[in-house]
C-alpha cells in the first residue's frame, strides 16, 4: 500500500480539503486503487524522452504588451458571499 493514513491527511491538507476520519479510510482505499492502476507507467523505458509536450514556441504569436482597463469592480464583486466596500473579506489573517 503506497498511501498510508498519514499521507492521506498530508495531501488533504495540501489540497485544502477537510476530510473526516470516517471519510479517510474510503479515500485511502480509492487513492491506493488509482495509484496501483497508474503504476503501470513504471514498466516503460523513458530514457532520453522529453518531458515537455508540443514544445514549439512561436515568438511571432506573442501578443502586444498593451495596457487594458477593466472598470468592472462591481461585476467582479457581484458573486462573492462576503464583501466590504470594494473588497472581498476573509477571516482575520494577521494577529
Amino acid at each position: 500500500m503506497d498511501i498510508d493514513t498519514e499521507t492521506v491527511l498530508k495531501i488533504a491538507r495540501l489540497s485544502r480539503i477537510k476530510i473526516t476520519d470516517t471519510e479517510s479510510s474510503d479515500i485511502q482505499k480509492d487513492l491506493n486503487r488509482i495509484v496501483e492502476f497508474v503504476k503501470k507507467l513504471g514498466e516503460i523505458d523513458v530514457k532520453g524522452i522529453s518531458e515537455f509536450n508540443f514544445g514549439e514556441t512561436h515568438l511571432e504569436d506573442m501578443r502586444q504588451d498593451s495596457v487594458t482597463i477593466n472598470d468592472n469592480t462591481n461585476d467582479v464583486l457581484k458573486n462573492t458571499k462576503s464583501k466590504n466596500q470594494d473588497f472581498f473579506t476573509v477571516p482575520k489573517i494577521v494577529e
Binding site: 495531501i11 489540497s15 480539503i17 487513492l31 488509482i34 492502476f37 461585476d75 467582479v76 458573486n79 477571516p91
Partner: protein, 494 residues
C-alpha cells in the same frame, strides 16, 4: 417528421423559406424541453432570452445581415460561462455563480445569431463518464433497451448535451472533451460528436479541468450539422494563448466529395474483447462499406496504447488539482459557514470539503499526490514523457495512413449506478479508446453505426492527424449516408 427532429441544416432551409419562424421554432423546442424533465438534461433554462433572440432572428432572416446559425436553437454545456446566466459546471462549489463575461465559443455562436435554450447537465467539472457526478443528478439517456425499463447513462461528461440532442430538445449542442467527454456520450446516444484538434476552439471562458487536454466541440444529430457548428465554434482567440492562428475551413463544403484512395488504419491495440458481438459486426460492416467506397484498409500499430489511460489518470488530475485551487469560497460560489475562531485555512478547507463532490475530491487529492515532493518524478514527469511516446505512435502511423478507425467505446450505454461504485478505476476504463486522441492533441469524431443486441446505439471513432477535421467529416458523411442509421429513440419520457 416533426419539426424538432430536423437537424440544423434542414431547419436553416425552413427558416430561410419562411416555412417556419425562429419564434415558432424556439417555442416548439421549449415545449419539448418542458415535457422532458424526466431526462434531466437542461439544468438552467433561458427561455426568455431565447425568445428575445428568436424575435431578433425573425427580423434578420432574409436580409443581408443574416449569419450561419440565424434562428437555430442550441443547448450549451454548463462548463461554458455565459454572461448573466447561472453557470456552475454542475458543481455545488459554484453555487449560484453568475459569470460577468461570455466564453469565446458561445459568443461566436451568438455572433452567428444562434438561439440559447439553456445550460445542459454534465459531470461535475467534466470529471466522469456517466453524468452521475453532477450536483443536479444524472441526465438520462433517451435510449432504452426494449427488454428493460432501466435508466441508462447518456455518457459523460457531456451527457446533458448528448441526451438533449438525441431527444430533440435542441437542434445541436456544445460539449467539451478532455478524455472522451464528447465522443463517448455521442456514441451512447446515437449522435455525432467531434473533439477538434487542440487549439481549434478557444478555451477562454470554459471552466478549466485539465488545460492541456480540454477542447470544445459540437454534438449534433448528423455529420452536416457537426460541420456547420464546428465552423461557428472555431477560430483564433487572443484571449487563449493555446488557440491556433490557423484559418477555419468551410467544413460543410467538403461533404459529399468522394474518398476513393483514402488509407484508413485499423489498430490492433483497439480491439473489442468479444469477437462475436454486434459491436464487432458493426465495426466490420463499417470497414466493408469503406472498402466499397474505394478506401484501402491498412493494419497499423500504436504500441503505447495500453499506457494511455494510466498517463491520463496522472496528468488530468494533476492539472485539475492546480486549476481547481481557485475555488476558495472568497470570490464566488459556495462559502462555508465558519465558527467564531476559524481562520482563513478553515474557510478554504470547509468550503472545498462541502462544495466538491466525491470524484472531484478524489482527483484533486490524487493530482496533489502525483505533483508532491518525492512523487513528482515517478508519476507526473514520467507520465509527461509517456505522453510523448503516445504522440510519437500517432505521428508514425499518420505517415502511412490518413485516418484511424476504432470503436468509440468498449460497450453501449450502461445502466445508471452499475459502474464505479466500488472501484473508481472501473469507470475510468470507459475512456480507453478516446483518451489517446486527447493526449496527442489530435481530432476525433464518433459516428453512430447502428444498434447492438440490446437495441442500443453503437459508435465508431475516426481519428485524424492535426487539423484533419475536413477529412474526418468528409469520411463520416460518406459513411453516414451508407449506414442510414435511424437516429430517433422511441419516446417514453414525454
Amino acid at each position: 417528421m416533426k419539426l424538432t427532429e430536423l437537424g440544423i441544416k434542414d431547419l436553416r432551409e425552413l427558416l430561410n423559406n419562411k416555412e417556419v419562424s425562429a419564434t415558432e421554432l424556439t417555442n416548439t423546442f421549449i415545449q419539448n424541453i418542458e415535457k422532458s424533465s424526466k431526462l434531466n438534461a437542461f439544468i438552467e433554462k433561458t427561455f426568455d432570452k431565447a425568445l428575445i433572440q428568436a424575435a431578433e432572428a425573425d427580423k434578420i432572416i432574409g436580409t443581408e445581415s443574416q449569419k450561419s446559425l440565424c434562428g437555430i436553437p442550441l443547448g450549451i454545456k454548463d462548463l461554458f460561462c455565459c454572461k448573466d446566466v447561472k453557470t456552475q459546471a454542475a458543481s455545488a462549489i459554484l453555487d449560484n455563480f453568475i459569470p460577468p463575461y461570455e466564453s469565446t465559443v458561445t459568443q461566436k455562436l451568438w455572433n452567428e445569431q444562434a438561439i440559447m435554450l439553456g445550460k445542459l447537465n454534465m459531470d461535475e467539472f467534466a470529471m466522469g463518464s456517466s453524468n452521475e457526478t453532477s450536483t443536479y443528478g444524472p441526465a438520462i439517456n433517451p435510449w432504452r433497451s426494449p427488454e428493460s425499463d432501466d435508466f441508462l447513462t447518456p455518457g459523460g461528461s457531456s451527457g446533458g448535451s448528448s441526451a438533449a440532442v438525441a431527444a430533440n430538445l435542441c437542434a445541436g449542442a456544445t460539449g467539451t472533451d478532455t478524455g472522451g467527454s464528447i465522443r463517448q456520450p455521442a456514441s451512447f446516444t446515437g449522435t455525432v460528436g467531434l473533439k477538434p484538434t487542440y487549439g481549434r476552439c478557444s478555451r477562454w471562458g470554459i471552466i478549466a479541468f485539465a488545460s492541456s487536454l480540454d477542447q470544445a466541440g459540437p454534438i449534433t444529430k448528423n455529420v452536416t450539422d457537426n460541420a456547420i457548428l464546428l465552423r461557428a465554434m472555431s477560430g483564433f482567440d487572443p484571449l487563449d494563448s493555446t488557440s491556433a492562428n490557423i484559418e477555419v475551413p468551410n467544413y460543410e463544403k467538403e461533404l459529399g466529395k468522394d474518398i476513393k484512395g483514402l488509407r484508413v488504419g485499423l489498430a490492433k491495440e483497439y480491439s473489442l474483447q468479444k469477437d462475436d458481438s454486434e459491436a464487432q459486426r458493426k465495426l466490420e460492416q463499417t470497414i466493408f462499406l469503406l472498402e466499397n467506397m474505394g478506401v484501402e484498409i491498412v493494419e497499423v500499430s500504436l504500441p503505447h496504447t495500453e499506457f494511455a489511460l494510466p498517463t491520463y489518470y496522472v496528468l488530468a488530475p494533476a492539472e485539475a488539482s492546480s486549476n481547481l485551487a481557485r475555488y476558495d469560497g472568497v470570490r464566488y460560489g459556495h462559502r462555508a459557514n465558519l465558527d467564531t475562531n476559524d481562520s482563513i485555512l478553515e474557510l478554504y478547507e470547509k468550503t472545498r470539503s462541502e462544495g466538491f463532490g466525491t470524484e472531484v475530491k478524489r482527483r484533486i487529492l490524487i493530482g496533489t499526490y502525483v505533483l508532491s515532493s518525492g512523487y513528482y518524478d515517478a508519476y507526473y514527469k514520467r507520465a509527461q514523457k509517456v505522453r510523448n511516446l503516445i504522440k510519437n505512435d500517432f505521428d508514425k502511423v499518420f505517415k502511412n495512413v490518413d485516418l484511424i478507425l476504432t470503436p468509440t467505446t468498449p460497450t453501449s450505454a450502461f445502466t445508471l449506478g452499475s459502474k464505479g461504485t466500488q472501484d473508481p478505476v472501473e469507470m475510468y476504463m470507459n475512456d480507453i479508446f478516446t483518451v489517446p486522441a486527447n493526449l496527442a492533441g489530435i481530432p476525433a469524431l464518433s459516428l453512430p453505426v447502428g444498434l447492438d443486441e440490446q437495441g442500443l446505439p453503437l459508435g465508431v471513432q475516426l481519428i485524424g492527424n492535426n487539423w484533419q477535421e475536413p477529412l474526418i467529416l468528409k469520411t463520416a458523411f460518406n459513411l453516414e449516408n451508407a449506414l442510414a442509421f435511424e437516429r430517433n429513440p422511441k419516446n417514453w419520457w414525454a
